[in-house]
C-alpha cells in the first residue's frame, strides 16, 4: 500500500504546530497503525529528519498509551486503540490525517504526544480504595453480588487513554471519571469513600479545565473499551446523592 500521511508536527509545547505531508510506500495491510508510523519514522531517521513523536507502550490494546486522532476519529475508524487498528482498514492511495488529542487539559508535548497527567490527578483525588495492602484477602470475606461485579468490571475496563476527551466537542472527561466512580462505588471495598470519591473526582475534573457533558455521545462512540454513555448518568446520580448527604451533615 502507498499512502499519503498528513501528520501534526509541533516542536514543543510552546511552538506553533502545523500539518506536514509525507508519502509512505510498502505498507502491508497486516501492519498496525503504529507499525506504519514506525516505517515512516525509519525513513525519516535515514533521511536525517526528526521522527514523528507519538505515545505507545503495550501495543496490545490494554495500556491506553497510544493516542492518535486518525481522520478526525479518536483511535481511527475501528472501535479499538490506535495500536490495534490495522492498515486493512484503509485503502491503497488513501490520505490519512493524524492529529494529537485536542483539549486544553491535555497540552501537546511534541507532535502527537500530549500530557495526560490531568487524568492522574483525577485518580489521585478519589480513584482508589483505602485498604491494607499485603497478602491477597480471603475471596469469600467480602461477598459481591454477581450483577455488581459485572457492573464494576464493565467500568474497570477503562484504560484511561483519553479518547473520550479527544472525541468530546467540549473536551470533557466525564466518561473517564464516571468509569472510575462507577467501578469503585458499586463495590463494598469502595463503599467507605463512596461520597467523597465522586465529589472530589468531579471537583478535580473541573479544576483541570475539562469541559462539561452535553450528551452528544461522542465519548462512548470513541471509547475503545465500550464504556457506555449511561456511565455518565450513573456518576451524575452518585454526585447528586453525595451532595444531598453532604448537605445533611
Amino acid at each position: 500500500m502507498k499512502l499519503t500521511l498528513r501528520v501534526w508536527r509541533q516542536q514543543n509545547a510552546d511552538a506553533d504546530g502545523a500539518m506536514s505531508t509525507y508519502e509512505v510506500d510498502g505498507i502491508s495491510a497486516d501492519m498496525s497503525f503504529l507499525e506504519m508510523l514506525d516505517t515512516l519514522n525509519e525513513e525519516l531517521i535515514l533521511k536525517g529528519e526528526d521522527p514523528v513523536a507519538f505515545d505507545h507502550d503495550c501495543r496490545e490494546g490494554i495500556c491506553g498509551a497510544c493516542s492518535l486522532v486518525i481522520n478526525g476519529d479518536a483511535h481511527g475508524p475501528e472501535r479499538t486503540t490506535s495500536c490495534q487498528l490495522h492498515m486493512r482498514s484503509f485503502k491503497d492511495g488513501d490520505t490519512i490525517d493524524v492529529e494529537p488529542w485536542r483539549a486544553s487539559a491535555f497540552p501537546v508535548v511534541k507532535d502527537l504526544v500530549v500530557d495526560r497527567s490531568a487524568f492522574d490527578r483525577i485518580i489521585q483525588a478519589g480513584g482508589y480504595v483505602t485498604a491494607p495492602t499485603g497478602a491477597a484477602p480471603e475471596a469469600h470475606a467480602t461477598p459481591v453480588p454477581k450483577p455488581d461485579a459485572d457492573f464494576a468490571f464493565e467500568h474497570a475496563e477503562c484504560i484511561g487513554c483519553g479518547a473520550c476527551v479527544a472525541a468530546c466537542p467540549n473536551g470533557a472527561a466525564m466518561l473517564f471519571t464516571s468509569a472510575k466512580v462507577n467501578h469503585l462505588n458499586v463495590l463494598p471495598q469502595g463503599a467507605p469513600e463512596r461520597e467523597t470519591r465522586v465529589l472530589d473526582m468531579v471537583a478535580q475534573m473541573d479544576e483541570e479545565g475539562f469541559g462539561g457533558c452535553t450528551l452528544t455521545g461522542e465519548c462512548a462512540t470513541a471509547c475503545p473499551k465500550g464504556i457506555p454513555l449511561v456511565s455518565i448518568t450513573g456518576m451524575n446520580k452518585e454526585w447528586l446523592r453525595a451532595t444531598r448527604k453532604a448537605g445533611k451533615r
Binding site: A172, F210, G211, K237
Partner: protein, 223 residues
C-alpha cells in the same frame, strides 16, 4: 450544599435540567390553553380571564399568574446563566479544533446553544407582543386576547418569528428532555429508549400544538 451545586459543572447542569423541566411543564399547559382558541372568542377570552382569577378567593386577583411569572423568570434566568457559564467552560476546554473535521452529533444536539439564544429573544418579543402589547400591530386591546392573537398572526413577520421559534423549541426539547433525564441520573440503559421516545413525542406534540394557532389564523379557521 448550594455552593457545591453552583461551583460544579455537574451541579450547574442539574440547575439547567431542573429549570428546563419547569419551563417544559409550563409549556405543556400553555400549549393546551392556546388550543382553546379553536372554540371561539368567548371561550378563549373567558379562559384568559380565568387565569387571572385562578386561586381566588384564597389568592388575590392575578396573584397566581404573578407567582407563575416569578417562577418562570427565575427558571429562565437560572437556565440562561448556567448555559452561558457551562458553554464558556466547554469552549475553553477545546480551544484547538481538529484539522480533519467530521459531521458530529444530531442536528438537535448541535443547535442547543443557538436554539436557546433564539428562544430567549423570542420570549422577549412574545411578551412585548401579546402581554404588554408594546410591539403589537394594530392597537393592543387588553382583555381581548382572541383579537390580539389574530392581529399578530395576520402579519407575515408575526407568523415567521413564531413558527421559527416553535421549530427551534421542538429541537431544543428533543435533546433537552432526554439530556435532563441523564443529568438527573434517572436515565439508564433499559430506560434510554423510553426517554428518547418521550422526548420526541413531547417535542412533536408541542411543536404541532403551538404551530396550529398561526396556521389556524392563516387558513381562516380562527378569525
Amino acid at each position: 450544599m448550594t455552593r457545591t451545586m453552583w461551583d460544579s459543572s455537574v451541579g450547574k447542569k442539574t440547575v439547567m435540567a431542573v429549570s428546563g423541566l419547569i419551563m417544559l411543564a409550563y409549556l405543556v399547559v400553555h400549549m393546551l390553553g392556546n388550543l382553546k382558541i379553536f372554540f371561539g372568542s368567548d371561550e378563549f377570552n373567558s379562559y384568559a380571564h380565568w387565569l387571572r382569577t385562578l386561586g381566588e378567593p384564597f389568592l388575590h386577583y392575578e396573584w397566581a399568574l404573578w407567582i407563575i411569572r416569578v417562577v418562570l423568570v427565575a427558571a429562565v434566568v437560572a437556565h440562561a446563566i448556567s448555559a452561558y457559564q457551562l458553554s464558556r467552560r466547554d469552549i475553553r476546554a477545546r480551544p484547538t479544533k481538529y484539522v480533519h473535521k467530521k459531521p458530529r452529533a444530531s442536528y438537535a444536539t448541535r443547535t442547543m446553544r443557538w436554539g436557546g439564544i433564539i428562544l430567549g429573544l423570542f420570549i422577549v418579543w412574545h411578551i412585548l407582543d401579546l402581554t404588554t402589547g408594546t410591539v403589537h400591530p394594530d392597537g393592543f386591546q387588553a382583555g381581548h386576547p382572541y383579537q390580539n392573537v389574530i392581529d399578530t398572526f395576520s402579519t407575515w413577520y408575526g407568523n415567521v418569528i413564531y413558527i421559527a421559534a416553535v421549530l427551534a423549541l421542538g429541537l431544543h426539547i428533543r435533546h433537552g428532555f432526554w439530556s435532563a433525564a441523564h443529568t438527573l441520573g434517572v436515565g439508564s440503559r433499559r430506560r434510554d429508549r423510553a426517554f428518547k421516545a418521550i422526548a420526541n413525542v413531547l417535542a412533536l406534540v408541542l411543536t404541532v400544538g403551538f404551530i396550529s394557532v398561526p396556521v389556524g389564523v392563516m387558513t381562516g379557521v380562527v378569525s
